[in-house]
């Protein structure tokens, strides 16, 4: 098995057949330059036009073009399209675009050109994924990759096929499917029912499903201790970062800046019972409370007392130290937040379930994600935020990812030795 084309027999003059690295680089970067010119002259491509079913037709057309390369594989053009030099040129051009994206902050899609834009914006440099150069290169890459798969389709090249076909399917579904992908957000009050999505621009959209929030729970990690300058209200720093000590009942002794700290008692859910005491409580509005002994390592002076985190109606309670310093508990970080919901779809389906981060709920064509909550209120948040995502091209992307994963395993297992 020999590569369909290589530079080995390349003529010394450019454009002499068969085409090799010089021609590949010239073509890939001409495509890129053409894209930049189009962007400069005409502005970003009308991507909204590329939604269902236009993107399906484009995908099918592309697949047919790629497949055509197989019967035409002896023709110079098909040989060049599926050659190693062109693939290297396209990888280099794509890598260059990614490098620009990695250095210049990108505006979110869908992109609208602001009035009076500078040269960089007119070239598309701050919105590359919605620009002509990216679109042109993307189609060129899909064509070359797909044609290479078609030409070299063979049971003896399973690792090659898994890598290239998987990537092709993933790129096709991810790129051409982009306009069909919908993301909506819903804020649902506890006990309430919501069927409208609020878009970032303030537009309210009715959704084909409704969510009822039956309950919302947060589990927290123990808070951290910090030392605050009473005068400025700012935490003291060490090595440029706010210094903190993680409260940890398993490790009750620690050190924070100039103080030895001992955790005498820790209540993850507590309410104040008097000016100096906290008691364990099971209620909606509880705080974390800790009885701490802090000893100044220089003077040996010891400070002891209860500290607590804050809650909407309870201010946090610090411990007074010497030298105008306070020891305080930080806002606890969530370990887990869970919404108990009932989802009603337009088709009459009713789903009772829980939704939490990393565990989205599937309802019809939509995936419902736990997004956020009222972080100011913390445990007593009265609403839960959801993100609803619909992506009809997802199965193809997932299949592509899976096949590509098999390909990368094959690449590792075989190394280079499998090659003739």
């Amino acid at each position: 098995m020999s590569p369909p084309s290589s530079g080995q027999a390349a003529a010394s003059r450019i454009w002499g057949r068969p085409w090799g690295y010089p021609e590949g680089l010239v073509l890939a970067f001409s495509a890129l330059a053409g894209g930049f010119l189009a962007e400069w002259l005409a502005g970003p491509p009308p991507l909204a036009w590329l939604s269902w079913p236009a993107n399906l037709f484009l995908a099918l057309g592309l697949a047919v073009l790629c497949a055509l390369a197989r019967p035409l594989r002896r023709r110079p053009l098909a040989r060049f399209l599926t050659s190693v030099p062109l693939s290297v040129a396209l990888i280099a051009a794509m890598g260059l675009l990614a490098l620009v994206m990695g250095l210049i902050p990108q505006a979110p899609a869908p992109y609208v050109t602001p009035a009076g834009a500078g040269a960089g914006t007119r070239l598309g440099l701050d919105h590359l994924t919605s620009s002509w150069p990216f679109a042109v290169l993307y189609l060129f890459l899909l064509l070359s990759l797909g044609a290479t798969v078609a030409v070299r389709l063979s049971r003896r090249r399973l690792v090659f096929l898994a890598n290239h076909l998987g990537l092709w399917a993933l790129l096709l579904a991810g790129g051409l499917g982009a306009q069909d992908r919908l993301r909506e957000t819903m804020l649902v009050p506890e006990g309430g029912l919501e069927w409208r999505s609020q878009r970032p621009d303030g537009e309210i959209v009715e959704m084909p499903l409704a969510i009822r929030l039956d309950g919302f729970d947060i589990e927290e990690y123990p808070a951290k201790l910090a030392i605050i300058d009473h005068g400025t209200g700012m935490p003291l720093v060490a090595d440029g970062r706010a210094a903190f000590l993680q409260l940890d009942p398993m490790e009750p002794r620690g050190r924070l800046l100039g103080y030895d700290v001992e955790l005498l008692e820790f209540l993850p859910g507590a309410v104040p019972a008097g000016p100096e005491v906290f008691v364990k409580a099971i209620a909606r509005a509880t705080v974390q409370a800790a009885r701490i002994a802090a000893t100044n390592r220089e003077t040996g002076q010891r400070f002891e007392g209860w500290l607590s985190t804050g809650e909407s109606l309870m201010p946090p309670r610090p411990l007074k130290l010497d030298g105008g310093l306070l020891m305080a508990m930080s806002r606890p970080e969530p370990r887990r937040f869970v919404s108990q919901v009932k989802v009603f779809t337009q088709e009459g389906q009713e789903i009772e379930s829980v939704i939490e981060v990393n565990k989205p709920l599937k309802a019809g064509n939509w995936l419902i994600y736990q997004r956020n909550y009222d972080t100011e209120a913390g445990r007593s948040s009265s609403w839960s935020g959801f993100e609803l995502v619909k992506d009809p091209w997802l199965p193809m992307a997932q299949a592509g990812l899976f096949v590509w994963a098999l390909g990368s395993l094959g690449l590792m297992a075989r190394g280079k030795r499998g090659r003739p």
Binding site: G20, Y21, G95, G102, L103, Y221, Q246, G254, S408, L411
Partner: protein, 261 residues
């Protein structure tokens, strides 16, 4: 085992690695044993920390540096068994020491918290495959530099060394792609989409492009692709990789990245 133990165990690993590197450069048989012992001490600390924190120690930069300083000598040992390159064993042991020293100079604060988005079955495979690929691809870059020097000195490439570099790039690229794929699968579960052009993702793609280019360039060597130019690609790839791992959070494009930690 809390982070406090690191100030005792890391110097032990570093001493073992320095001795191992010294002996490796003299082709002494005990070299790999010493490097292995250093790696095992680091592994013991990682396991102890994992148990102590009740979460995989992969959340912070310092924690990922721990894994890197374990995987580097591990990759070096495996490659040494297969290819018998003692410079490689010495290099991985010394580089692992560098990262252990960085961790000694900038100790992590003890924190058990792991934000909900990170509590995923993809967390461990995502970070470990990336750290493994970083370790393996670093070896390919050093191999390329040695090959470049060999070319300058003799005018002829060392064929065995080419086999080594190419094989290592295959393995490293496989891990790099698996890291990206597990990241995509995880992102779909946690953030709703498998690819968001997060700056870390973009830089991972740039790194991937560099090593993909090397792999394809080596498929079709020709007069037009000078051997020197091709051998420059893995070292450049290593630089891009370091930007991806350590440098992204410093870039203006990284505002709002989910990967800044």
């Amino acid at each position: 085992m809390s982070w406090g133990w690191h100030s005792y165990l890391a110097p032990l690993s570093i001493i073992l690695w320095f001795l191992g590197a010294f002996l490796a450069l003299r082709d002494h048989k005990a070299a790999s044993l010493l490097v292995l012992a250093g790696a095992l001490v680091t592994l013991a600390f990682i396991v102890g920390l994992w148990i102590r924190l009740e979460r995989p120690p992969m959340r912070t930069m310092g924690e990922t540096r721990l894994w890197y300083s374990f995987f580097l000598p591990a990759a070096g040992l495996l490659a040494h068994r297969r290819w018998r390159y003692s410079w490689l064993l010495a290099f991985t042991a010394l580089l692992a020491s560098v990262f252990a020293i960085i961790n000694l100079a900038r100790p992590e604060m003890h924190s058990r918290s792991l934000m909900p988005a990170l509590q995923s079955p993809f967390f461990v495979p995502h970070v470990t495959t990336y750290m493994l690929s970083y370790a393996v691809l670093a070896a390919s870059a050093v191999g390329s530099v040695i090959q470049l020097r060999h070319l300058s000195a003799t005018g002829q490439p060392d064929k065995g060394l080419y086999d080594f570099i190419d094989n290592v790039v295959h393995v490293g690229l496989g891990f790099l792609m698996l890291g990206l794929i597990t990241g995509a699968a995880w992102a779909k579960e946690a953030w709703g989409h498998y690819w968001s052009w997060d700056p870390k993702e973009t830089w991972a793609l740039i790194t991937l492009a560099a090593f993909l280019a090397y792999l394809h360039l080596r498929l079709s060597p020709s007069r037009e692709t000078s051997a020197r130019l091709v051998l420059m690609v893995p070292p450049v790839g290593l630089v891009l990789l370091m930007v991806t791992w350590l440098g992204v959070s410093l870039l203006p494009a990284a505002m709002g990245s989910v990967h800044v930690y």
